[in-house]
């Protein structure tokens, strides 16, 4: 049963600290997405990659957020420094190009 995995599931940190979230896409999927879920905006796309190359990161605050794919089995989303307004659930999703996106369980981030 192939699925997207995300770590950590929950993260509580203090303002100013660095946060790194990790995602393992489904094997064989070449497109990886990072979303943020908030009450006001719903699911916002932060960035996405195809074949490990960034295609669109226009939804991401560039000054503090960064997303990378060190290899085909790992995607990372980093926030440095974190702020209370970054508190949200962060989802990773993967897909074969132009096919259905499969979501991971999310990382619930709380920045105090």
């Amino acid at each position: 049963d192939a699925r997207v995995t995300q770590t950590p599931r929950d993260k509580v940190t203090e303002m100013g600290q660095e946060v790194t979230m990790r995602c393992q896409p489904i094997l064989g999927h070449n497109t990886v997405f990072w979303y943020r879920q908030t009450m006001m905006q719903g699911l916002e796309l932060l960035a996405y990659f195809r074949n490990r190359a960034p295609l669109d990161d226009s939804g991401m605050p560039k000054d503090r957020f960064s997303a990378e794919m060190p290899d085909a089995t790992l995607a990372t989303l980093k926030i440095q420094p974190s702020e209370p307004r970054d508190s949200a659930v962060y989802f990773c999703a993967s897909a074969r190009s132009k096919e259905t996106q499969y979501f991971g369980p999310g990382t619930r981030l709380l920045v105090l």
Binding site: T31, G42, L43, E44, L45, T100, Q101, Y102, P105, G106
Partner: protein, 113 residues
């Protein structure tokens, strides 16, 4: 600028009755629409989709209707079951947006036994 809008944050329906979830969009370039379902502490899962060349797509108890002139789509669940209680997200994409989906804010459905 919310291009996909779900104006009802919540909906409560009796088991066995029809649930109707609505979604409006503003971008006329959108040509493919999807519904995702999300349970607490889980990621969204794909439910059903529709292309703009159709006005209806049915899958078991789930039917999605698309009204292009009104830029409106709806998800009908008949009959509703307690296990359908979840948050439902509407999403859309266009040819020029590639794989990029634009999501609404979600509607929380509660099906009462």
């Amino acid at each position: 600028d919310q291009q996909v809008k779900q104006n009802s944050p919540s909906l409560s329906v009796q088991e066995g009755r029809i649930s109707i979830l609505n979604c409006d969009y503003t971008n006329s370039m959108f040509d493919y629409f999807l519904w995702y379902k999300k349970y607490p502490a889980e990621g969204p899962t794909f439910l059903i989709s529709i292309s703009s060349i159709k006005d209806k797509n049915e899958d078991g108890r789930f039917t999605v209707f698309l009204n292009k002139s009104a830029k409106h789509l709806s998800l009908h669940i008949v009959p509703s079951q307690p296990g359908d209680s979840a948050v439902y997200f509407c999403a859309a994409k266009g040819k020029s947006s590639g794989d990029k989906l634009t999501f609404g804010t979600g509607t929380r459905l509660a099906v009462r036994p």
